[in-house]
């Protein structure tokens, strides 16, 4: 059942993004940024916590999940105060994803030659 919910929720986000690109003439980079920023705002609003609790990976894997992870780093534990603590907290969980993707992409560039 939770697979069905993840499938439906993830698919729904992708359909909305696709329609924004096709009908709304948004650029893909614009839609991606919109999703991430929406994830941040809804994350701080507390809505995204419930969304993740009910649909799981259907909320985490779309790019809005990356925004939620940014916000979640600030929201876990005692509230950070000041520029230093807040800046670190933004990357508390999101750093795991970003560091892996950057290092993995570098490794791919080490191994592969461009095709075509």
């Amino acid at each position: 059942m939770e697979y069905v919910r993840a499938f439906l929720a993830g698919g729904l986000v992708c359909v909305i993004a696709q329609l924004l690109i096709d009908r709304g003439r948004w650029t893909p980079a614009g839609v991606a940024s919109l999703l991430v920023v929406l994830g941040v705002i809804l994350g701080f609003g507390g809505v995204y916590d419930r969304w993740v609790a009910s649909v799981g990976a259907g909320a985490m894997l779309p790019l809005s999940g990356l925004g939620y992870v940014f916000a979640k780093g600030v929201m876990v534990g005692p509230p950070p105060s000041g520029l230093v603590a807040t800046g670190g907290a933004v990357f508390r969980f999101a750093g795991a994803l970003l560091a892996f993707m950057v290092a993995g992409s570098f490794a791919a560039a080490l191994i592969c030659k461009p095709k075509g």
């Binding site: 929720a9 696709q18 690109i21 941040v40 894997l61 999940g65 929201m75 791919a108």
Partner: protein, 142 residues
């Protein structure tokens, strides 16, 4: 009105309209299937060594990103994006694909200006606006 709006109105009849329903359906199926796969991974990590639901989901996301980077390296992820559109690009796997394909594409320009400088060319906007939004809102939270 001006020449520009006249032109845009005149050529509209000759431009093909994108197949909205077919594109949306393909995005729904592929995006949903990838999320269901990530849910299966998250359940597996949650049942083994992850200590919280968030950690299990982060592990699942990392594994999905790793799969996407691997598929990009062999040139297969572009085929999925071509078919599914937003169903493949608007997920974390799509962001991993954007970074990896930019890194591979620009390696002939050198490791500094090419790979280092261009890696975020396509995927950077989403990361940058996410960081700005989270940092600014985080300064005023709670």
């Amino acid at each position: 009105m001006g020449l520009r709006t006249d032109y845009l109105r005149e050529v509209k009849a000759f431009q093909p309209s994108p197949p909205y329903a077919a594109n949306a359906g393909k995005a729904f199926l592929v995006g949903g299937a990838l999320c269901a796969l990530a849910q299966w991974l998250a359940n597996w990590y949650g049942g083994t060594f992850a200590t919280s639901a968030l950690e299990a989901h982060l592990w699942a996301s990392i594994v999905m990103a790793g799969l996407a980077i691997g598929l990009t390296a062999v040139g297969k992820y572009d085929d999925i994006s071509q078919f599914a559109g937003a169903g493949a690009t608007m997920l974390l796997t799509g962001l991993a694909n954007a970074l990896a394909s930019a890194a591979i594409e620009h390696r002939s320009e050198g490791w500094m200006a090419g790979v280092g400088g261009q890696m975020l060319k396509a995927g950077g906007a989403a990361i940058i606006y996410g960081v700005i939004a989270a940092y600014v809102l985080g300064l005023f939270w709670p």
